[in-house]
């Protein structure tokens, strides 16, 4: 039997996935703008962040409407709450992508002195984690979510390495300090994105298994 609420939950799911997809491409494009020194693309990423903000508002509104109209319970309730909590996380990830694009705009005006150390690797892991986290959400896959949570460590390790290398670069080539500092920002943004994806996965686990793991010790 199709319930009245089912159609609304379907719409909500689609909207969240659309937001997720938009966020994924924002990250991909921001990194492409950086490594490909493509300022036009960087500007587009910065501009498109407004679309993400609008999507966030729409999802918020729909969550509230569903709660008010249908008083969801059990899985339905957890689903709506999860969407309401995942949405601002995606919005923040998109913010970080826009910040990376802004860094790219600065860096693209400077001569490129060096490869981008491990930044593309970090971005690749972050992108994969993000896409897995959204897949895990739609397929209600708690196991996949737990795997993604573990991968955050890869990003953290890469961040530590990038950090060390960039500090070294600043010391050895004081003239590159400005560029290195901006690359450091990018690294920090990617590291934060990893943390946010981890948050999404923790919400997935809540949705599928109804246990919050964020503040519990047994991770």
């Amino acid at each position: 039997m199709e319930r009245l609420i089912d159609e609304q939950l379907g719409i909500l799911r689609d909207k969240l996935l659309l937001l997720g997809g938009t966020t994924e491409s924002a990250l991909r494009n921001a990194m492409q703008a950086l490594t490909g020194r493509d300022s036009k693309l960087a500007k587009k990423v910065v501009k498109d962040d407004k679309i993400v903000n609008k999507m966030e508002l729409e999802i918020d509104r729909l969550c509230i409407e569903i709660i008010a109209r249908y008083q969801p319970a059990a899985y339905d309730l957890r689903f709506v709450i999860s969407v309401a909590k995942i949405t601002p996380v995606l919005e923040r990830i998109a913010d970080h992508a826009a910040n990376i694009a802004e860094a790219a705009l600065v860096l693209n005006n400077e001569p490129q002195h060096r490869e981008f150390v491990d930044l593309p690797f970090m971005a690749e892991v972050a992108g994969e984690m993000l896409s897995d986290s959204l897949n895990a959400f739609t397929t209600e896959d708690g196991e996949l979510s737990r795997q993604v949570i573990k991968r955050d460590k890869e990003i953290d390790r890469a961040y530590d390495k990038v950090f060390g290398e960039l500090i070294e670069m600043m010391i050895e080539h004081p003239a590159l300090t400005n560029g290195a500092a901006h690359l450091l920002f990018v690294a920090k943004h990617l590291e934060r994105i990893g943390d946010y994806v981890k948050d999404i996965c923790e919400l997935n686990v809540y949705l599928t298994e109804a246990s919050f793991i964020k503040h519990s010790k047994k991770k």
Partner: protein
């Protein structure tokens, strides 16, 4: 918190038709336990088992044990009148007597000879009306007919009538299902207040009502107890798929 009522392996029959199947359940003292489930699943039958209201049905047959405060209420020497005083009941349709407001509440006190004198009787009536949150609305017209009250007031009068004989357990069978939202809210507030002193079992087909007022919820289907859990758990993450399907309206 100890359990007030302890039901073990309860089976109930209307003649050859079994209405309740092997139900074991504990109802904690001074809490509200809500009973939900599709129509005809045996909620009312179950409630009536708890104060032996089913005794009036000739074909009814019970097996298993129902203990209140550790005493088997189906033991042969049970004083059924005393039992029904201890375990009061409020029904879906308010059913005041065709008498004054005062007399409706005084009735149980009188037949049980609980009062010392007229003043004591008046005090008991006043207390019951206060405890049922009706006093302020009726204190100036105690000697007018109970039928002059609104539906919600009549229902609270029935609660006052139940409270007047100083019960310990109150059974409520869909007490708000015939009331408008405001009257319903008053009943719900009252239920939550009453649990400070009473153990309450409430049947409701309004899931949100169960979620709002109860500490624990029991879900019945086809005469079987499917699940009982703390209400918060029941409405966020029930253990049983059947419960999940019922409270999310997946089957009708």
């Amino acid at each position: 918190m100890g359990s007030k009522i302890n039901i073990k392996n309860l089976n109930f029959f209307y003649g050859a038709d079994q209405a309740l199947f092997d139900i074991s359940l504990k109802i904690p003292e001074r809490q509200v336990m809500a009973f939900i489930g599709p129509s005809g699943c045996g909620k009312s039958t179950f409630l009536r088992v708890l104060n032996r209201m089913n005794d009036t049905i000739p074909i009814a047959k019970v097996s298993g044990t129902v203990k209140i405060d550790g005493k088997d209420i189906y033991a042969p020497k049970t004083d059924v009148v005393a039992l029904r005083r201890k375990v009061g009941m409020v029904f879906q349709k308010s059913n005041p007597f065709p008498k004054t407001i005062f007399e409706n509440v005084a009735y149980g006190i009188r037949i049980n000879r609980m009062h010392k004198d007229k003043t004591d009787l008046e005090e008991r009536v006043e207390k019951a009306l206060k405890d049922s949150a009706l006093w302020d609305e009726v204190k100036d017209r105690l000697n007018t007919s109970a039928f002059g009250l609104s539906g919600g007031q009549q229902q609270r009068l029935c609660i006052a009538r139940a409270l007047a004989v100083q019960p310990e357990v109150i059974l409520m069978d869909e007490p708000a299902s015939a009331l408008d939202p405001i009257a319903t809210q008053k009943i719900e507030e009252l239920v939550v207040e009453l649990k400070e002193h009473y153990t309450i079992a409430i049947v409701t087909h309004n899931m949100q009502q169960a979620a709002r007022v109860s500490d624990r919820t029991a879900f019945f289907m086809l005469g079987k107890l499917i699940e009982v859990n703390p209400t918060e758990r029941m409405f966020t993450h029930p253990d049983e798929k059947l419960t999940e399907d019922y409270i999310t309206g997946r089957f009708g």
